[in-house]
Symmetry: D3
Amino acid sequence: MGKIVTFGEIMLRLAPNGYYRFVQAQELGATYGGGEANVAVSLANYGMDAAFVTKLPKHDIGQAAVNSLRQFGVDTSYITRGGNRVGIYFLEKGASQRPSKVIYDRAGSAIATASSEDFDWSTIFEGAEWFHFTGITPALGDNVAAICLEACKAAKAKGVTISCDLNYRKNLWSKEKAGQVMAGLMEYVDVCIANEADADDVFGIKAENTDVTGGKLSHEGYKEVAKKLADRFGFSKVTITLRGSISANDNNWAAMLYDGNDYYFSKNYLVHIVDRVGGGDSFGAGLIYACVNKYAPQDALEFAVAASCLKHSIEGDFNQVSVDEVKKLAGGDGSGRVQR
Amino acid sequence: MGKIVTFGEIMLRLAPNGYYRFVQAQELGATYGGGEANVAVSLANYGMDAAFVTKLPKHDIGQAAVNSLRQFGVDTSYITRGGNRVGIYFLEKGASQRPSKVIYDRAGSAIATASSEDFDWSTIFEGAEWFHFTGITPALGDNVAAICLEACKAAKAKGVTISCDLNYRKNLWSKEKAGQVMAGLMEYVDVCIANEADADDVFGIKAENTDVTGGKLSHEGYKEVAKKLADRFGFSKVTITLRGSISANDNNWAAMLYDGNDYYFSKNYLVHIVDRVGGGDSFGAGLIYACVNKYAPQDALEFAVAASCLKHSIEGDFNQVSVDEVKKLAGGDGSGRVQR
Amino acid sequence: MGKIVTFGEIMLRLAPNGYYRFVQAQELGATYGGGEANVAVSLANYGMDAAFVTKLPKHDIGQAAVNSLRQFGVDTSYITRGGNRVGIYFLEKGASQRPSKVIYDRAGSAIATASSEDFDWSTIFEGAEWFHFTGITPALGDNVAAICLEACKAAKAKGVTISCDLNYRKNLWSKEKAGQVMAGLMEYVDVCIANEADADDVFGIKAENTDVTGGKLSHEGYKEVAKKLADRFGFSKVTITLRGSISANDNNWAAMLYDGNDYYFSKNYLVHIVDRVGGGDSFGAGLIYACVNKYAPQDALEFAVAASCLKHSIEGDFNQVSVDEVKKLAGGDGSGRVQR
Amino acid sequence: MGKIVTFGEIMLRLAPNGYYRFVQAQELGATYGGGEANVAVSLANYGMDAAFVTKLPKHDIGQAAVNSLRQFGVDTSYITRGGNRVGIYFLEKGASQRPSKVIYDRAGSAIATASSEDFDWSTIFEGAEWFHFTGITPALGDNVAAICLEACKAAKAKGVTISCDLNYRKNLWSKEKAGQVMAGLMEYVDVCIANEADADDVFGIKAENTDVTGGKLSHEGYKEVAKKLADRFGFSKVTITLRGSISANDNNWAAMLYDGNDYYFSKNYLVHIVDRVGGGDSFGAGLIYACVNKYAPQDALEFAVAASCLKHSIEGDFNQVSVDEVKKLAGGDGSGRVQR
Amino acid sequence: MGKIVTFGEIMLRLAPNGYYRFVQAQELGATYGGGEANVAVSLANYGMDAAFVTKLPKHDIGQAAVNSLRQFGVDTSYITRGGNRVGIYFLEKGASQRPSKVIYDRAGSAIATASSEDFDWSTIFEGAEWFHFTGITPALGDNVAAICLEACKAAKAKGVTISCDLNYRKNLWSKEKAGQVMAGLMEYVDVCIANEADADDVFGIKAENTDVTGGKLSHEGYKEVAKKLADRFGFSKVTITLRGSISANDNNWAAMLYDGNDYYFSKNYLVHIVDRVGGGDSFGAGLIYACVNKYAPQDALEFAVAASCLKHSIEGDFNQVSVDEVKKLAGGDGSGRVQR
Amino acid sequence: MGKIVTFGEIMLRLAPNGYYRFVQAQELGATYGGGEANVAVSLANYGMDAAFVTKLPKHDIGQAAVNSLRQFGVDTSYITRGGNRVGIYFLEKGASQRPSKVIYDRAGSAIATASSEDFDWSTIFEGAEWFHFTGITPALGDNVAAICLEACKAAKAKGVTISCDLNYRKNLWSKEKAGQVMAGLMEYVDVCIANEADADDVFGIKAENTDVTGGKLSHEGYKEVAKKLADRFGFSKVTITLRGSISANDNNWAAMLYDGNDYYFSKNYLVHIVDRVGGGDSFGAGLIYACVNKYAPQDALEFAVAASCLKHSIEGDFNQVSVDEVKKLAGGDGSGRVQR
């Protein structure tokens, strides 16, 4: 199998321990994460040849970000070193009725101030089979959106499959700007990944009978969403994750897949959350793994949902699970009995 | 709006991390808390001008207690410095069927050995709008009960509204003693706050069809309790929190309010507990905030219940939430979705 | 009451904090535990005279294992010092659908390489009333199985009651080997303890209509299992714990007891798990306590189940609860209300 | 005595525990600090009425910065809330021959992007006696240099004494730019504070026979430096701290003071370092305290040096010592015997 | 060899991690210690049969204190359970010129409120060879002084050797009171242990040419002190530890012994301090070990000094070293080379 | 430049935090290290292409060892996966007169039970320039010694330079066995690295006038040692590190180099130790770096000594320093001034 390339920002994630609020914390857990980096680590953990492309400063914080990826076997040789800072996000874990809270401090990061010359896509895509990015990357700035477009073109030129997770972030850009920029990129995308709110936020495509905040999702309504997305942009596959948020501790988790012909729905998992950040990314990684390994649609969906179900039980952005663990859960064993 | 004054003891709280038992702990989390201090911090977090009155030793542990209040903006300028020790309570967090456990080591604390000359109530209540204390304060000793009475009289003389949380503590005094002393103070109190057991413990006023230990509470029965309290002491408002304890991890949480005319019941919340100590105090603070800001009865009750619902998700005695967070929950959004 | 002797291995338990996976951990909690050691500590916590017999190296890690037992009052004077290493097990705590994971690194431990001369059973059983071991001890090697047999004979000769927890460990021996060796030991055993899978694994005695992995247990089916065990080996009592695993966080927990005449079933507890390792051992310790104190069968069973229910709320292998705490839960108070 | 006002930036300080390097850290200690904030906290710890002026975002990280100041009694009521981020600095503690390392990530902070309208100096200086800033503040940008100039003018207009610590930071501006901007501000300054390198870096005034890197300082040479500074800018007092760096663990620490007439040299302390960041600021705070309290020159110098000697034994930017502790050391007791 | 009995208070020791000051600490290390308990643990670590006598509450904090002793093999069977609280001391570790700081919170502890009936000395001294107490025990109150006298009489009646460490604590009693009470006890004491200041504080016997605070001790002057003590009270041995405090990190450490005939001086050690609390106690334990094992005077002194030198490198009150480790150092190997 | 290959064991290192002794530790820091792995990481940190060859189990602890190497850029692609366990060493950090203590638990590790088929040296050495191993590797067993010999032969066949650090470990083999096996390997070795004791331990070649335990080393005596080693085995270079141990905290550190013609002595550093494990390995890595980069003998020696001097300031086995940092120190700047 060929190399899988992802492109985006990796941030320093600073989080109080346990359930402490920001104003209580004297210690912050320091890990690294970001949509596309999370996908790369997850794929490397599945034994894939995964490369993550970004720009990071030459200083030790930049180096620590590189090391966090290398540790799990991600190919970091295409990372450009330069720029001034590593983007940061502060994460406060929610509990019960109190939601998790994210404060972004990512403006001016190395990747957000990168330019076209920083990346040689033709070299990067040599031997590549798949390219993945999310809606966060073009949202970092017009320069990054332009780089993203160049990457898509280069990938397409080499016959590389392209997936995109819409991943709308309201603090990075408006819905209007997002819709306009993303539409331009979608023409290169084969596989579209979205959560229960993205299609509405980015393209104004809304599920009927659904109240995302209230945690009530109409699975039927999402068929229509998937179809509209596929019809508009010609995606070969559309997948939508369906999170039903009961509380900060407990969520329902499922997904659907539309392959242009049929609609597939996964099992639903009731997850007791350890850390839900990166849940969507772990779904994307599971889906890419399944696609590259030619799983049938229902199997691919179940693999991706089981993978991301497990992510909710793992600290940090990165999904630290193996193919065997995912398969065991997808195969029906979610009893959590001790493995000796 | 005027100043809100609370009076009582702030203790050093020593708690093993996570779910470790006392006999397993080599480290103890060191924070500070106590009924009336908790109310003051919560009000300061809502942007109120809140002052906490107590006596604390001049040494560094006393100073650390002062700092813990100042940190959140509480006015500590009326705290008298002197005496020998800071009261301590040891807290072991329960889980599942194992209850949380509190060991008090508060005898001989600076406030418990204070005398009338330590406090100049006339100065303290200048510009004040509200005075709050709980049943713990007079229980600290006859001297403190006398000081409390002086405070009530001084407050009343200045037209300050007085609230009292009955807060019965069986290890501090007998039900008989409590009933007698508290009755003398109630004549000055406008707003009475109680939990599902207090009215019975202190004044022998019991709800019918209720099994507090079993977690089964009859809401109807508490109407009668509230009415009897109001009738006996002439309270303008009586509120009763209704905790249905399913396990050390999961509780039902609601409250009622009686304003002499009508009975109001709040929404019920199923809370997954991070730390339930200070839950009642956070209700009191919410109620005071709502009263001072002239909320209608149902709104005041919902604000207080939502505020205290959130407290259960927060480590330490102090309720670290903002007015916006409380309003969001009271307004119906308890899904715990990540706030980015 | 006489001394209670247990014999087996105590290991160094190395576990990442919280829910971190092995590959994420830079710190490992270091405690000690093992089936029979856990029983001894639990009994010492109940005020019993409990002695744990094993072999441990003379170095500081061996000493730390001894200290961990002494700390809770276990008699360690029969522990032979010598050999090269302390057995180790690595424990990763599971959450939600992700199971806990144990990696054993116990080969070559001091006890696994012990010989008959290391233990003077005649001295050890002086004044003893009860002897307990589990199926793990003979599984450590033929030499240890032989020592175990000597212990059983010496115990029997002194009229000491013997209990055995079948405790099958597939990584230590095959089902065939286990069945053969254990059968030889069972002839000395009075009280047999098993979990929902042991009887099948060791002796091929299987409950009907039961899916252990799926968490569906037929209580009726276990009557048959208990009876078959009692009939085959002449046990005076057979107890079977019945764990219904909903997820790594939530389990149903109950047990049955067969005394040759009647079948007793305990209450069922829905437990929210802090640490489930040692759950079975805490049941065994509760049962032994109840037997030695001559509880009636249903009371003995309820005590043992309540004791082990509480264990699930406690970090580490050792059950850190008192007789009063167990009785309070067995008596019906599982509401988890704060004890002040 | 009047209020003491300081103005500048307070940053989030992120530091690995102990001697871990950045690339090894999974946890970062999160405290707050910055030259002028450090001075304000130190003065508040001496019982002074100290106010710190800055701009901080409205979000929780900004609030935590405010709380860190309030905790120690600093008046934070003049802090303007707004802007996007809190400046950050990463600190890695050195040991032996390995130096401590600072990585700044402060561009774009709220204070660096502040404008004149954010501060009402006339109100701020009401009742003030002293104004202090350091060379870092004008280095944050031309806008901040302009605000600083406004502050100086407003202070002067009210007869407030002004002190400035030259504090040259080469990563914020060039020596040329620094020299030019600082010269403009010096005309308002009464008391100049510098370290062994600042006068050279900012104004090209260099001590003879001195090798700062090699830790060899010529005390005589610094007399000339002080005199030149005083002569050029008309300072009433010039103080220069004299750090002789033996290693990252051990430093010599002393200072001199020139009051236009005489040169005073302090005792020298050999300090074994816990945390040397903020050492210069603690000297400044000690000097201001001594001046406001009208100490004689030698006494003022000894107080300031003893205060800053103690700072080296304290974790974090803030000097957590009392007047009594400083006086005890200045009085000659540096034996470190336990105080019971 | 016979049992060694020590009698006194064991306190909960609460200490910030590393060099944090009290006002900075959110976590406190929780260990247990006290003069006589420290001696008992040290002796148990040398393989001696050591029993510690005190009174401790029945609650979990009292139990944790018992466990802390049992863990290291101390016989806790003579500890009376009852009373209300465990005495506490807060410890802040000093560094460089900043001294360590102790805040006592021990009034009202179980042992301080004990009465004669709590201890059956006749049983306790069965099989005993040595009895040890320090000047802290009688300082806890007249009741405890009386119990201490009863213990001395009972010990003497059984021919048990008695040692006393003068251990003057100014916050517990005045020099006058100490001198008077201690004189009454000294008549039973065989071996007197003192530090460089005790003889002066308690009995007004002062070394010439010595400045304890300045760290300058005249060894000659202490000969006179020892002789006067021996002459006045008829001690068979007097030992005086000689701490020369250079800073909170570095001390000189030596001792002298007078056996009525000759004066012996030990080697001097320059110690780099990890934790100096319990240093004197570890000297006492070393001396008792050496006496019980019939070491020659110089050897006994060197053992005791080496033992206590090592204590300075160990966290907590208890000296965690073996006889072999002490002998190795006393024998001259203090190079600190790694032992593999 | 070509690849640098090292071969040996990487162990799980378990160490109490700070200066806690083994019997006090409830937490163990978990890192990975071993002589040759340490060299590989250090070289990777210098930007070299470094590969580490070993055998590690397939389970998660084995994976964590792999990750610890990958994190710093070491090529782990030649590591064979299999076997049962990861070797462990327990490390207790010494202080002052108390030495650090190592307890090995490495028997039966995957590499110790490896066989010739596990490694394809011909492939491994493709493109290699240097091969490094230490005396620990052949000491793991005759099988590993044989593999080591095969590696040497394969390396020699490809013209790869070979270095060996004698690294005698008395708990792994006797001096006789070591001398015999090592002599057979030395014939392939070009560069010999030893510490102040190795040549004596392994080959009976002893420095005159030297007392290693006492920390007194005769530099002259080591000239003779180096010459004898070079003469006997035909080494092109012999280097000897010269550690003068003052205490567990303070060491003198220097080295010599003999190139067959001249004797070179480095500067001496007085190091204040953070963690001295891996000090020798960091010297080896520095030397290899300098040789591969064709440094002149004195420069190579100074680089290696400065590199290893810095290692003593860094936690863990791995030397986390850059070429720039080493050069700065070798160039004379050891003042430890903060780098901003």
